[in-house]
């Protein structure tokens, strides 16, 4: 197993290097003078020369790439041109929104998709099966941003004065300013600068609410999360439902399932212990593959639900040509994507020994 993990880790390194090189090249391919873009009217030739020297832009491109890699390894992604703050700081501030949204979207997709798929396979060709498959087909065909808008209209306008009404924007009710858990717990005095990791965790509202045992905050955060999470999770849900269905269908026809039945095992044990265990392997792969969809969905959904996450910041920065931010965020998202895929692969190897030894 260790050998497999090491092999998989070494396989990710060239891809990570490739990502750095590609984003580096993409950033350099952007037309226009970076000095002019950052300093605007103040950019005289002398000032620009200093600017270039300070940012290492007077060095040959390969040296620049090495500097860029060194900085990246040290967690330095440069300063945002628009916010005049380190990109890393912005990331700590805004990534939690996206992580929370993505996690709940995936949770929704898995907790609904897998049971639906399994039941459809088990009741093959029943009304439930046909309905699920029609629903799944429609689900994968819907534009995420459109679904988000329609959900917002349904729950914030049509159901306005009913108990089902849900807020169409923001992460918390305006005015709510929850205390971070590290202050409630007295770990860090108010006003002191907490480490990035603590700030990161405290900005995941639901997690912060649980850590501070604040039920009201938890309900508020969840109510704001439902619509965007459903919007982001619908396409993955449809894909996961289809995959679990076809995977369970295939397993149910296997000899060992028939043997299990012939042995007189209860149906619950046949399906739960024998069939599902093997059927879930491809489902795990599909779940891993869906992280990309979740990130793409988050970019669009954050724009609709006014969530200041990584996606929305990225799109806004593109229009305002904040290249360092775009470059930094893209690298981090892509690197995260690679890491998640690696974890999924390792998990897969752990669950299925055939992969490990191949």
């Amino acid at each position: 197993m260790l050998k497999f993990v090491i092999r998989r880790l070494t396989f990710s390194i060239p891809v990570l290097l490739g990502i750095l090189i590609v984003t580096f090249t993409l950033a350099r391919a952007i037309p226009g003078d970076p000095c002019l873009a950052v300093l605007g009217e103040r950019a005289t030739p002398e000032i620009c020369e200093t600017f270039f020297r300070r940012n290492g832009l007077d060095q040959p491109a390969p040296i620049q790439l090495l500097i860029y890699m060194r900085n990246f390894a040290q967690g330095d992604l440069g300063d945002s041109m628009r916010f005049h703050r380190p990109v890393m700081e912005l990331l700590v501030e805004r990534l939690p929104t996206t992580v929370e949204l993505g996690a709940f979207a995936l949770l929704f997709a898995i907790s609904v998709g897998v049971p639906l798929g399994v039941l459809s396979a088990y009741r093959h060709k029943s009304a439930l099966d046909v309905g699920t498959m029609i629903g799944a087909n429609i689900g994968v065909s819907m534009p995420v941003f459109w679904l988000g808008l329609m959900l917002a209209y349904l729950f914030a306008v049509l159901l306005k004065d009913t108990p089902f009404a849900l807020p169409p924007s923001g992460r918390l009710t305006p005015g709510a300013n929850p205390e971070p858990f590290y202050i409630v717990a007295g770990w860090i005095a108010e006003g002191a600068e907490p480490p990035g990791l603590l700030r990161f965790i405290s900005r995941i509202n639901t997690l912060n609410a649980v850590l501070t045992l604040n039920g009201e905050l938890l309900v508020d955060a969840l109510r704001h999360l439902i619509l965007p999470a459903v919007a982001v999770g619908t396409i993955p849900l449809a894909i996961i439902a289809r995959m679990s269905r076809s995977s369970v269908l295939e397993v149910l026809n296997q000899d060992y399932v028939r043997t299990a039945r012939a042995k007189g095992l209860r149906e619950r044990e046949v399906v739960g212990k024998h069939a599902l265990k093997n059927a879930m392997l491809p489902v795990i792969t599909v779940i891993g593959l869906n992280f990309g969809l979740v990130i793409s969905g988050a970019v669009l959904t954050e724009t609709i639900f006014s969530l200041t996450g990584v996606g929305r910041t990225l799109v806004d920065s593109i229009t305002s040509r904040d290249y360092t931010l775009v470059q930094g965020f893209t690298v981090v998202i892509a690197a995260g994507f690679v890491l998640i895929n690696m974890v999924v692969d390792i998990l897969y190897g752990y669950l299925d020994p055939r992969i490990r030894f191949n």
Partner: protein
């Protein structure tokens, strides 16, 4: 397909039973999802070609000051005849610039269909070429091409497309190019896998022994055997490409106003969701139906073209 093949070419393709394609076609006819998909796509193609006939108005013309028009803007309660309103001239009402929404949605079919088909065709051509070369040549070339594909796949597709469009500048052509690049690795991987499995077979080795040109071997022998999964993947890909293009337009990076493009129409009207939901509803439905058509056909084709599934 086999029926139209000139007789002289028959011996060369004799390894592929001509019945396979016929059988696939028959399977396709019996698959309800493929049939429905074909009907939807067929209807959309007709609408796209004959858009001027289906549209009731010029999609770019504002109806302000036009005789017989109220010039009603959606800030007032929308009047949608299809929902039982008594104002007959606009089927889906007017958009924010007082243009006929129905005609804009109809013309949008042209943009979305062509974007979907062009993107996928370009990425199939590029991806298949790369995959064929990587698989056939092997060694360092294979490694270089496939590692590059790994890197492209490491980016979430929409994010990569956004980054590319940022550099090239917003616009439909650049969006199309950006999406194309994100799709290339799929086809490269598929065709490479097919090449690897076919390359060692006797008929290819025999051809090599006869001294045939590698290009000829690739195009005449390997490609036809590798094409089936690519076609299936391509059909499913058209739907995804249409969704991506709409998303880019929605973010303001794809089609620019006043081009009638569904994502762009949605983007224009999304701030009016709470007062004029119809402006958002119909373009989205159009996108959904189109993507659904390609997905259904792709699913049906996968089942029909995969002989392993013909157990019954």
């Amino acid at each position: 397909m086999a029926a139209t093949r000139p007789a002289a070419l028959q011996p060369e393709s004799a390894y592929r039973s001509p019945n396979l394609w016929l059988e696939a076609l028959r399977n396709l006819r019996h698959s309800p999802s493929a049939l429905l998909g074909m009907i939807i796509i067929g209807a959309l193609v007709i609408i796209a070609i004959a858009a001027p006939i289906f549209a009731t108005h010029d999609p770019l013309k504002t109806m302000i000051g036009v005789p017989g028009e109220t010039g009603r803007l959606p800030s007032k309660p929308p009047c949608i005849p299809i929902l039982g309103c008594e104002e007959p001239q606009h089927i889906l009402g007017l958009d924010l610039n007082a243009r006929d929404l129905y005609s804009r949605v109809i013309y949008g079919t042209r943009t979305s269909l062509s974007v979907g088909v062009i993107t996928i065709s370009l990425s199939i051509i590029a991806g298949t070429t790369l995959g064929l070369i990587a698989g056939y040549v092997g060694g360092a070339v294979d490694n270089a091409i496939m590692r590059l594909m790994d890197v492209v796949l490491a980016f979430p597709a929409l994010l990569l497309a956004i980054s590319i469009v940022t550099i090239l500048g917003p616009g439909l052509t650049n969006a199309l190019l950006g999406i194309t690049i994100t799709f290339i690795p799929q086809y490269a991987r598929l065709s490479r896998a097919s090449v690897l499995s076919i390359k060692e077979q006797e008929f290819v080795v025999a051809e090599q022994a006869l001294g045939a040109n590698p290009l000829r071997i690739m195009l005449a022998h390997i490609l036809p055997n590798a094409i089936t999964p690519i076609i299936v993947q391509g059909t499913l890909g058209v739907g995804t490409a249409i969704l991506d293009a709409a998303a880019l337009s929605f973010l303001g990076l794809g089609a620019q106003p006043p081009t009638p493009e569904w994502g762009q129409i949605l983007s224009e009207s999304r701030n009016y969701l709470f007062t004029s939901p119809h402006l958002v509803f119909f373009p989205g439905i159009a996108i959904m139906i189109t993507v659904l058509g390609f997905n259904l056909l792709g699913d049906g084709m996968r089942d029909a073209l995969d002989p392993r599934l013909n157990r019954n």
